[in-house]
């Protein structure tokens, strides 16, 4: 059993008057893929956006409770979000490469954090990140072309490479394949399998099949509450909760 990397304790999130998460207690293990499933609007994305404090961007959003990474509280006003986000990368639902060259897309993060002071160091980071994201072979001859000119699947891998470039410990993925075709999806899933050797990964997905394929642990959310969490195998074969059973067999959602 691997160690707990991220621990949430009575986590509540409010958007204005509306409560989006209710007392979520969830442990995420190091170097493992945790899948979060549940019907739309159930709070999965809200939960992972707490881990890198992306909810800060939304004015009306308020978070209470605790989230610890390696035992350090991150839901703390005094915490430096810049270094938190350096440790916790994120990949979004829709590929969102910057309208810059492929090279600049990857070197953007390291430059901001002052890594890679010389051109050759940056070159190395770019190459390593693209290789890890399994994109290097496809783009190595056209690094100065715009990232927005790539196909959807390539763009998403570019975004993964961008997240990797700052050498994070955790990667959050918010439905990373929902805008992609099956072939691109298969490539990303393969990549996730490879990445879990180095990173702790949390993936939000609407596809049960994907959760089964890529994750070791699965959490089921419903209406802002964490209904059930456990080993993926157990959740999908023999869930404890009736609601989980109904959801994974497609009776609602």
């Amino acid at each position: 059993m691997s160690e707990v990397k991220i621990k949430s304790n009575n986590l509540n999130v409010f958007y204005g008057d509306k409560q989006a998460l209710f007392d979520v207690n969830l442990d995420l293990n190091e170097k493992e893929v945790t899948a979060l499933i549940g019907p739309s609007g159930c709070g999965k994305s809200t939960f992972i956006r707490c881990i890198n404090r992306m909810n800060d961007v939304i004015d009306i959003c308020k978070v209470t409770g605790n989230i610890e990474i390696d035992g350090v509280e991150i839901n703390d006003e005094n915490l430096d979000v810049v270094s938190l986000r350096e440790r916790v990368g994120m990949v979004f639902q829709k590929p969102n490469p910057f309208p810059k060259s492929i090279y600049d897309n990857i070197s953007y993060g390291p430059k901001i954090h002052g890594k890679g002071e010389t051109k050759s160091e940056l070159d190395e980071i770019v190459e390593r990140s693209l290789k890890k994201a399994a994109l290097w072979e496809e783009v190595k001859d056209r690094l100065d072309e715009p990232g927005t000119g790539l196909s959807g699947g390539q763009q998403q891998r570019l975004c993964i490479a961008r997240a990797i470039s700052v050498n994070p410990e955790v990667i959050l993925m918010d439905e990373p394949c929902s805008a992609l075709d099956p072939i691109a999806t298969a490539k990303i899933e393969e990549l996730i399998d490879e990445l879990k050797k180095t990173y702790t990964i949390v993936i939000v997905t609407h596809s049960m099949a994907q959760a089964v394929r890529v994750s070791q642990k699965t959490g089921f959310f419903h209406l802002g509450k964490l209904i059930e969490v456990g080993k993926t195998e157990k959740i999908f074969k023999n869930p404890d909760n009736k609601m989980t059973q109904d959801y994974i067999t497609g009776r609602f959602g």
Binding site: F98, Y108, V166
Partner: protein
């Protein structure tokens, strides 16, 4: 008369809409057939067919009627023994006849004029009556034609679409032709100017004093006279003054406008934005002449006082005062437009930047601004063309003397101001002085065109496309 006719045509054909609609409905019931289009399309069809031919006829008639009447009247007057040597005299007689007809002529009326005036009103009557009859005939013919079509259950939808497309085409044609017309009129007058003044003397001359060419017959200018005129039409001081004032204005407006646009779009709360944006936009609604007051009566003297207190000679009409006020005037263009452009940059790009740990200002500088750059440059360009074209503030605050200077504390002048100066008051149109206004207009037009082209190329090259 014509307005009454147009009004009647429009009323009549609009009322046909309901007739066409109900008629086709009853046709479809009577004959038990499916109509080729909704009944309302038959209504539109009738409206368009009954109004457009009549209106076009009226337009063409009104264009040619005066010309034809004039030639007839002048001919009859000549037959009656009126004497005129050239076209101008003929025109004069025609105007006299018209004035007699209207009862506004107070000179001596001889028999020829009197006779002509009588025949003028006779012809006018004939023409008006036949106009009304012919329009009536046109309407009846086109209504009969379109009714027949409707009864045959024609494809009214396609026909109406075609007619509408035609109307839209004609509108854009009018827009294009008017632009071309303006350009050509500029061009022809400028050619007249350049046939007197050498184009190189104009483009590279450093002295502008067109009043020296006052009252001089351009068609018979001697070499000695030309030598004297050679350095009266030097364009350089004007373009220098124009660019200088525009530069000062942009120096004020671009940073303030851009920064306030960024603040509005990225930092201001929605409440703050709701209140302050309209306030900034009010600046754009102030008439330029008011800015002119302000520049001439407040800012100019203020600068002179400050200058005197530190021992500088500052002209009370200075490029600095005009440029500064002009800059304030164009702030809202830049801030409002760049605010809109920045707002339209997708949130997902900002999220992507925050997610790798960039701060807000890093995100704005490195992701948002580059993505919004084409729009921002567009707004700056609009501001530049405003600055170059602005006249009133310069007239009031920067003076009229064409000094070739880069001292912002001296008075200077711009192309547009000089055009105003040249064309104000009584002018004879064959003097190079008057014609030089058209040459200036043309040069300004070409300069703006080149500027736009360069900017568009630059935008294309540096734009960062997002979808």
């Amino acid at each position: 008369m014509n307005f009454v006719l147009i009004f009647l045509i429009v009323i009549f054909s609009s009322s046909l809409f309901f007739y066409g609609k109900s008629k086709t409905k009853s046709i479809s019931i009577e004959r038990n057939i499916k109509l080729n289009a909704l009944p309302k399309f038959y209504g539109y069809y009738l409206v368009l067919w009954s109004s457009i031919p009549a209106l076009v006829f009226l337009l063409v008639w009104s264009l040619f009627e005066p010309v034809i009447i004039k030639s007839i009247i002048i001919e009859t007057a000549a037959n009656q023994g009126a004497i005129f040597n050239d076209k101008n005299e003929a025109n004069l007689i025609y105007e006299k006849i018209k004035a007699i007809h209207l009862g506004t002529y107070f000179g001596d009326i001889d028999t020829i004029l009197k006779e002509s005036a009588i025949s003028y009103s006779k012809f006018l009557n004939i023409f008006t009556n036949s106009k009304i009859v012919l329009i009536f005939v046109t309407i009846i013919a086109s209504v009969i034609f379109s009714l027949k079509k409707i009864k045959n259950n024609n494809k009214a939808r396609e026909d109406v679409e075609k007619i509408l497309k035609g109307l839209l085409f004609v509108s854009s044609l009018i827009a294009i032709l008017t632009t071309l017309g303006i350009i050509f009129s500029l061009l022809f007058e400028s050619i007249k100017f350049f046939s007197v003044i050498n184009i190189f003397d104009y483009l590279f001359g450093t002295n502008w004093s067109p009043q020296r060419a006052f009252i001089r017959d351009a068609s018979a200018i001697t070499a000695a006279e030309y030598d004297e005129l050679r350095d009266a039409f030097g364009f350089v001081p004007l373009i220098a003054g124009t660019s200088f004032i525009a530069f000062i204005a942009m120096f004020v407006a671009v940073p303030i406008g851009l920064f306030s646009g960024i603040y509005m779009a990225e930092y201001a709360s929605s409440k703050m934005r709701r209140i302050s944006k309209p306030i900034i936009e009010i600046l754009a609604g102030i008439p330029t002449v008011v800015y002119g007051f302000f520049a001439a009566l407040t800012v100019g003297p203020f600068f002179r006082q400050i200058g005197e207190s530190i021992g500088l000679t500052v002209s009370s009409e200075s490029a600095l005062a005009a440029g500064l006020i002009m800059g304030i005037m164009i702030i809202p263009y830049i801030s409002s437009l760049s605010d809109d452009v920045i707002n339209s940059v997708p949130q997902s790009l900002r999220d992507g930047s925050y997610a790798v740990g960039a701060t807000k200002s890093e995100t704005i500088k490195q992701v948002v601004i580059p993505a919004a750059l084409p729009g921002i440059i567009g707004s700056v360009l609009l501001a530049v063309s405003r600055a170059i074209g602005e006249t009133m503030i310069v007239v009031m605050a920067a003076g009229l003397a064409a000094n070739l200077t880069i001292n912002p504390l001296e008075s200077t002048t711009t192309i547009t101001t000089q055009i105003v100066m040249i064309l104000v008051g009584d002018q004879e149109f064959d003097s190079p002085k008057t014609q030089s206004a058209f040459a200036l207009g043309l040069t300004l037009f070409v300069a703006t065109l080149i500027l736009n082209y360069i900017a568009q190329r630059a935008v294309k090259k540096y734009r960062e496309k997002y979808d």
